[in-house]
Each structure stands twice: as structure tokens, then as C-alpha cells.
């Protein structure tokens, strides 16, 4: 394993694969905060150069966190298809990049080798890729999943309607939900972040939304994004859960801070299979984001991008219905600017898809970052072109409970119309029945939440 490189007249030597991985990253404030970022542009390129020359076997043999010490590493290695890995282990990371981009390499072929790639390999190749590389690679892969409806159908783009309210007020939540539906947002899931993480609140919200879905025959999924253990208690008490949600991260230490581990997730998956309200087989909803390990002080000296890939390696064992990435939400100490968010979003989308995950992206930002709405809209269009399965839908782009900005109901409708994408098929039929959509375009009636209050 060669860890030394010469960029023109300058020689750079690195101590470990872990160091190479972190220094090969594009600039992000979180890597700088931890003190593992490249200190010069030349050093960054040197790291990339070294990485391109390493084989997949080198990476296999040097996990960034040892197998014995970390549950996430174990999940990644235990879930690997060794036969496929054996076939490709001699490839260099540089070759893998070209293989991904070759015309003759189909999306299916990528999903095939995916089974033999560890998360660190996937992170490594993404570090060699530019913005357009990432879009080209991600676009090839189509990952479908099924809960009540099918997500990821070619030619479609779905949205989570996210009608959050600062005090969990049911009336206010329903108002924002009606607004979202009237713009055609909500086919991926109706997902509420509760303020109060308790069984009563979660049950009340689940029941309210489920009753509304039943009354108006809305073909979608129902989810309240409380902690997984709260949702489990709610399921036990009979609450109508289609999808179980949980935030996860790329180290065992970070997952401990989230109050989650393999045992709990296994139990949650088994429970929703037995007592959930959805068809399945995909019944989990994960949220992830670059930097969560840093903000929890659980990064173990590994860079944010590699940790994010490891999160996907952990997630894929549960065959989730959806995995949403919220890198822009974590904060300026991890991702500071619009430029950093856009880069992270495209990396995450590509890495998630190469893990075989049904990915969605939240190109979002908080008010203490150097990012604005223009950055966010560029990110949305790029990720849509790269084949994101879904985005969020927030009234006016302003989440009044989580205090951050995400894709709006307007952006949802615009992105579909700009790229000629349609809602999920059953949902489109429902929109037509409600008079909200015709031939894939919003009607005059759309955007009026009072269509549900005749």
C-alpha cells in the first residue's frame, strides 16, 4: 500500500489510509474542526492521487474503525457478498471511477458490484469524482422500494409532505398537510416531526393523519418521526404506523448517542412487520447527514464523508423504504456554506445509491450558515437530475418547527415540471381525481388547501 505521492515538485507522505481518506475530501468545515482536513490544495490532490492507486483490497484490509470495536463496521463486513468482492478486489479506486462512468456499465451492473463494495470503497471512489461525475454515476442507478406504494418508479419524483408545527397543534399540522397535498406533495410519505417525543403525541398525530388518508383515499405512507423506541411503544398500543423512522450515523458511538443499535433496529423492523399498517416489504425510513458524528463528538478521527458512507452500509441491511439525507441541517461547524452543502448532497446521493439505497435528498440550510435560497434551488435541480427518488415538501420552504429551510411545495411542483417527472402513479391518479393535476401539470385548482373543506 503506497501512501506517498509527488504532485509536480512536492512530495506528500501520509501515515494511514484513514488520513488519506480525510485529506482527499473537498473542503468542509467539519473536517477542519476535527483537524483532519488537507492543509493545502496540493496536499488534497496528493491524497486523491494516492487513493486512485489503492486497490479495493487495500481498503478492505484497512477499515477506518476496527471490526472488533464498532458495530457499524461489523454490519458492513458481515453484509458483504464475498464472491462479488473477490471478483473486483484487484481494481484500483481510479479504475472503479472509470468503470462507473463507462457507457457500457449499466445501473444494474453497478447495483451488482455494490454487493461487493464496502462503504469505505464507495466513499473512496466518490472522493475522486467531480460534481458532474457524481450526477452521471448516480443517475444510472434506479432503486425501487415498496411500502403501500412503490417509490423510485422510472420517470417519477416523489415528495415527503412535512407539515410540522412548533407546538404539535393538530389543526395547524392538518392545515399545512392540506396545502402540501394541494400542490401534489406527499406521495413518498406524510411525515411529521413531533416537538414532544411521547407516545400520546405520536399516537394522536398518526391517527389523525391515517384517518385523513382513509377519508380521502390518499395512496401514500404514514409516519411520525419520533425516536424509534417511542414509535415502537405507539405500535404496541395500536397506533397506525406504516413506516418506522430513525436517525442513524456512521459510528457505534454516534448511534449510542442517538439511542439506537442493531438490537433495537432489528426489534423495530420485526415489530412493524407484525403490527404495522403497511403492505411492505420495505418498512423503515432512515435519516442521515454528514457531520452528525462530529456534532456528537463521536467521529473517532474519521472524516465526515466516509462516516456518511458507513451510515449507508449500516442502513442497507434493513432494506429501508427511504433514506433521506439532511447534511445541510447539521450546522456551520460541520458544513458552512452553500458550496459545501451542494457538494455533500451530491456525494451522499451517489454514495447512497451505490449502496443500493432508495435515496432522497434534503438540500437544506439553517440561518447560521453562509447559504441562501439560490444555492438551495441549484442543489435541488442537480440532485433531481442525478435521480434522487424524493425530496421533502415544506410550506413556503420554511420549517417552522425545526427552524431551517428545505424544498418547498412550490419547488416540488417546479422540479417535476422542469424535468418532465411525474408523481408516483397511484398518487397521480388521486391528484387527477381531486382535480389538482392534469397531464402531469398542476391545474387552476391546485394550491388551494380548502379543497378539503367544501
Amino acid at each position: 500500500m503506497i501512501l506517498k505521492a509527488k504532485v509536480y515538485n512536492k512530495v506528500f507522505a501520509f501515515k494511514s489510509l484513514k488520513e488519506v481518506m480525510s485529506k482527499a475530501n473537498e473542503e468542509k468545515s467539519g473536517d477542519e474542526l476535527v483537524g483532519i482536513a488537507a492543509t493545502s490544495a496540493s496536499e488534497r490532490v496528493a491524497a486523491k492521487l494516492i487513493l486512485s492507486n489503492l486497490t479495493l483490497e487495500d481498503i478492505y484490509n484497512n477499515p477506518v474503525i476496527p471490526y472488533e470495536e464498532d458495530e457499524v463496521t461489523r454490519a458492513i463486513y458481515d453484509g458483504l457478498n464475498l464472491r462479488i468482492y473477490q471478483e473486483i478486489k484487484s481494481w484500483t479506486v481510479g479504475y472503479l471511477r472509470e468503470y462507473i462512468l463507462e457507457h457500457k456499465t449499466s445501473g444494474d451492473a453497478l447495483l451488482h458490484i455494490s454487493r461487493g463494495l464496502t462503504s469505505e470503497m464507495i466513499a473512496a471512489v466518490a472522493k475522486l469524482m467531480s460534481t458532474m461525475d457524481l450526477v452521471c454515476g448516480a443517475k444510472k442507478m434506479r432503486i425501487q422500494s415498496h411500502c403501500n406504494t412503490t417509490l423510485g418508479v422510472p420517470g417519477t419524483l416523489a415528495f415527503r409532505c412535512q407539515p410540522n408545527h412548533p407546538t404539535d397543534n393538530v389543526e395547524g399540522i392538518m392545515a399545512a398537510l392540506k396545502e402540501g397535498l394541494s400542490y401534489g406533495s406527499g406521495d413518498a410519505v406524510i411525515g411529521i416531526n413531533p416537538v414532544e417525543d411521547n407516545v400520546e403525541t405520536v399516537t394522536r398525530l398518526l391517527e389523525t393523519v391515517k384517518n385523513f388518508m382513509t377519508k380521502w383515499e390518499i395512496p401514500t405512507q404514514n409516519c411520525v418521526l419520533a425516536h424509534v423506541t417511542t414509535q415502537m411503544k405507539a405500535i404496541e398500543k395500536g397506533a397506525p404506523v406504516d413506516l418506522v423512522f430513525q436517525s442513524i450515523a456512521g459510528t457505534q458511538k454516534a448511534n449510542d448517542a442517538f439511542g439506537v443499535n442493531k438490537e433495537i433496529l432489528d426489534e423495530a423492523f420485526a415489530l412493524v412487520q407484525r403490527k404495522g399498517t403497511a403492505t411492505g416489504p420495505n418498512l423503515l425510513y432512515f435519516e442521515t447527514g454528514q457531520g452528525s458524528e462530529v456534532s456528537l463528538d463521536a467521529h473517532l478521527g474519521v472524516d465526515m464523508m466516509t462516516l456518511e458512507a458507513r451510515t449507508y452500509g449500516y442502513a442497507r441491511n434493513y432494506r429501508p423504504f427511504m433514506t433521506n439525507n439532511v447534511s445541510g441541517f447539521i450546522g456551520p461547524e460541520t458544513i458552512y456554506s452553500g458550496r459545501e452543502v451542494l457538494r455533500a448532497d451530491l456525494e451522499d446521493l451517489f454514495m447512497g445509491k451505490l449502496h443500493g439505497l432508495p435515496m432522497g435528498i434534503a438540500p437544506c440550510y439553517t440561518n447560521h450558515m453562509k447559504m441562501d435560497q439560490n444555492d438551495q434551488e441549484m442543489g435541488t435541480l442537480l440532485c433531481a437530475m442525478a435521480g434522487s427518488n424524493f425530496f421533502m415538501g415544506v410550506a413556503g420552504g420554511d420549517d417552522v418547527m425545526l427552524s431551517y429551510q428545505d424544498t418547498s411545495f412550490h419547488d416540488d411542483a417546479s422540479t417535476r415540471e422542469i424535468l418532465g417527472l411525474r408523481p408516483l402513479p397511484e398518487f397521480e391518479k388521486w391528484l387527477e381525481k381531486m382535480g389538482i393535476m392534469e397531464n402531469g401539470l398542476l391545474t387552476e385548482r391546485a394550491g388551494d388547501p380548502s379543497i378539503f373543506d367544501k
Binding site: 407546538t167 404539535d168 416537538v195 414532544e196 380548502s450 373543506d453
Partner: protein
Amino acid sequence: MPESSSQTITSVGIDIGTTTTQLVISRLTIENTASGTLVPHVEITEKEVIHRSQIYFTPLLDRDLINAVAVSKIVEQEYLAAGLTPDKIDTGAVIITGETAKKENAKAIIDALAGFAGDFVVATAGANLEGIFAGKGSGAALFSAQRHQVVINIDVGGGTSNYAMFHEGKAVESTCLNVGGHLIEFEPQGDRITYISEPAKMALHISGQRLQVGERVTLAQLRPVVKAMADCVVEVLKTTLLSELTRKLLMTPSLRLEHPIRKVMISGGVADYVYSQQGPTTMSEVTAYGDFGPLLGWELKNCLETAGFVLEKPNETVRATVIGTGTQSVNLSGSTIHLQEKTLPMRNVMVISPFISIIPESAQEIAAMIKKEMLRLQIDHSESSVALAMKEPRSMSFVNINLLAQGVLLGMDDYLSQNKPLILVIEADCGKVLGQCINANTNRPLEMVCIDQLEVNDCDYIDIGKPLMGGRVVPVVLKTLVFNR
């Protein structure tokens, strides 16, 4: 100070109406609904009726006197049936409605009954309050909020029809018409008239019918009179230019009709006949309860439908008023207030509002306005306590609130020297700081209750209950006593 996140209280509602007397007991859940790091916000989150009485005929001694002993018997009996004693009742209200409110001993009765029914049960009356309670009890208020449609609820009882119009859950208009199913009395299931009330005589006169006590009548003879009354009920909904009969029957100013009415709900004793499929076909069906309620209900339905109104079924019909009284009479103050627990409860506190518009700039001017109003109402010479009510300080700044505190102390100087408690009710969320400023500006040991986020009007009477939720909030009942006006 023990502080739990919820508490239940038991509330009674007693309605003594023209024809019937009823009682319900409900359990109100009071909760702090503010999450973790927010300042507490206590509100009533659930109202559950746990006991409904039988429906009794209102016991009368004669046409002008209520049988007080029999009424208190009813209450005693129902408490027993519910497994409760008066000391277990936290709050509630007695309301005297319809024709019964006109009885000579009405005030005495309900005052006595209120004391008998529980420590903090309040006597209330007034046609407007009655209509609003009925509309809240029938579900009209909730319907208007949930369906975003203006609903008018008409509670048609034995003696009166009480209207309350609701827009987005709030009562926006109310009125009362002297039309009810018991204004002419008959031998039960018979056709002989035993009594004709004054308002019925007016209707007879206008419709050209000459019925007399002791006479036997046919359905064909009775129908035009009843239809004339039903027409009056519906006319109030249609126009502000009213016929002579309607004007005579109105007991309060009519509706202003500022909101187009989308739905009509009928509650009260005759409501069930409004929503029935078939009208009465014989006199014995009409006079099943010794009055013409079933026919009035049926005629009312026809008049409403002819006029193009859309009827909506209420959740409660005959019990709407009593349920509204039992569950809707209590208001909670804001959750940051200033008080001494030992001062409470207080009954029959008269509200005075010395500031017509914005509060003046200096403490002297504030004091002068208070003194003027106290003098006008001769407060300092009476025994009773008053509550100073105001909308908001000049601005929500510390400086202005401190000035207001100084002004109040100056203005209430004579009143306070009689060792009466200082009671302030302010709409804006600043009760606690206003109380704090008053304390900081005086050397006098002061009994004080300074509560906020309540809307009260000049000359309202209020009762203030013992604090709930470890002193966070106080229950307040507004009452409009017609007897005192």
C-alpha cells in the same frame, strides 16, 4: 410547590328551564401543553360528561314561584346517583333560563342553589349567555371551527328560542325570542287548553285565532298559530326589518346578520321534532307532554327549509344548554400570574374598566382616571370588591408597566386603605410582571390577585376560584346577572 403536568376537575351544570330542569356532571382535564423549555401554558384539554341526570319537569309552586325545595331535592338525588357530594364538585354553574328566569324567586333560588351545589358553583343567567352555552353544548361552536362555516344555533325550549351565531368557534352574535313549545299548555295527550301565556296571546291575536283556556282545539285550528311562531323564529335569520309580532317577541336586540349563515342547528326540547322524518298527525301526538312542542318543531323545520336554510344535526338536542353550562362556563387565566392563594376564591366581583382607550402616559393621569371611575360608581362606599380590568399597558415595556403599577396604587389608594384586596384582570400577557411591579412600588402589605389573558367587560360580574395546577392558573367564571342590570 408540587407541579404535575395535568389535573382533573369536576364541573357541574344545572339548567332550570321553562319546562325542564337538568343537571350534568363533567370532568375537565387541565394540562400544561407547553413543551419542555417553554413557559408553562395551562389549558383545558378535555371535557367529558360523566353523569347526565334524568330530565325533570321544572318544579313550580305556582305560576310565579319556583319550588326551591324540590329543585334542591333534584340536585341532591342526582349527586347521589353520580356518587358525588358537593365537596367533590370543583366548579360549575347554575343557569336559570327561558320563562323561569321571570319568576319572582328566581334570583334567590339560584344563588342558594349555587352554594348548595358546590363550593365554587356560580349562578348565572341572561338570555345571551344561555344561547351561547346552548350553542357550545350542541356542538355548533365546534362545527363552525372544524368546518369553517358560519353556524347559527337556535335552542328552542319551552319558553324561549335562544340564538347564538358562531364563526370559527367564537360566538359573534346572539339574541332571544319569546317563542317556545310550552307557551300554550294542554291536558297531556288531550286537546283541551289549560293555559295560554302572554307571548302566545300575541301570536294568537296576529294570526287571527281566538283560542281560550278550557276550549278544545283541532290540529287545523292550532297549526296557524304555531306556524306564525315558527315564522317569527325564521324571520330573525332572514332580515333585520322585522314584522310587528317578531319585534314584540324579541327579548333582546335582534341579530345584526353580519355573517352569511351557512348552516342552522336546532337544539332544545323541540329539536328532536325538527329532525324527525314525520310531523305529528293527531292532537294527542302534539300534546304528548302537555304542550305543542312537537308541532312547533315540525313547523320550524318546514319554515327553515322553505326559506332555503340548510339544517345540520347537533350532537346534543335537549341537553345542549346544560352541557354547555357544565363544560363551558369556566375560563382559565394565563399561566404566569401573580396572586396570594389565601385571597381566593372570590365571588361576585364587579368589573370596572377605567380606561376607555389607550392607557395614559403618566402614573398621575392613570390614577386620576381610576379615581374618577371609582367615584362615579361609588365603589369606595360599598362593601364589595372590584376588579380593575384593562386591555394592555401603554406598551409591553418595563417602564410602562412599572408606571401602570404606580398609577394603580395611587388611584386605588382609598380603596386599599379599607384593606380590600387589589384585583386586576388584564388581557395582555403581563399579569405576573404587573403584580411584581405593584409589590415593588408599595410598602403596604397587599392582598393582590393580578391575572391575565382574560377578556372581561365593564360591569360584568366574575367569580375567581382557587388556583389550580400548583398556583399556575385560576379558574374564572363570567356571569351576566340580568337581575342586577
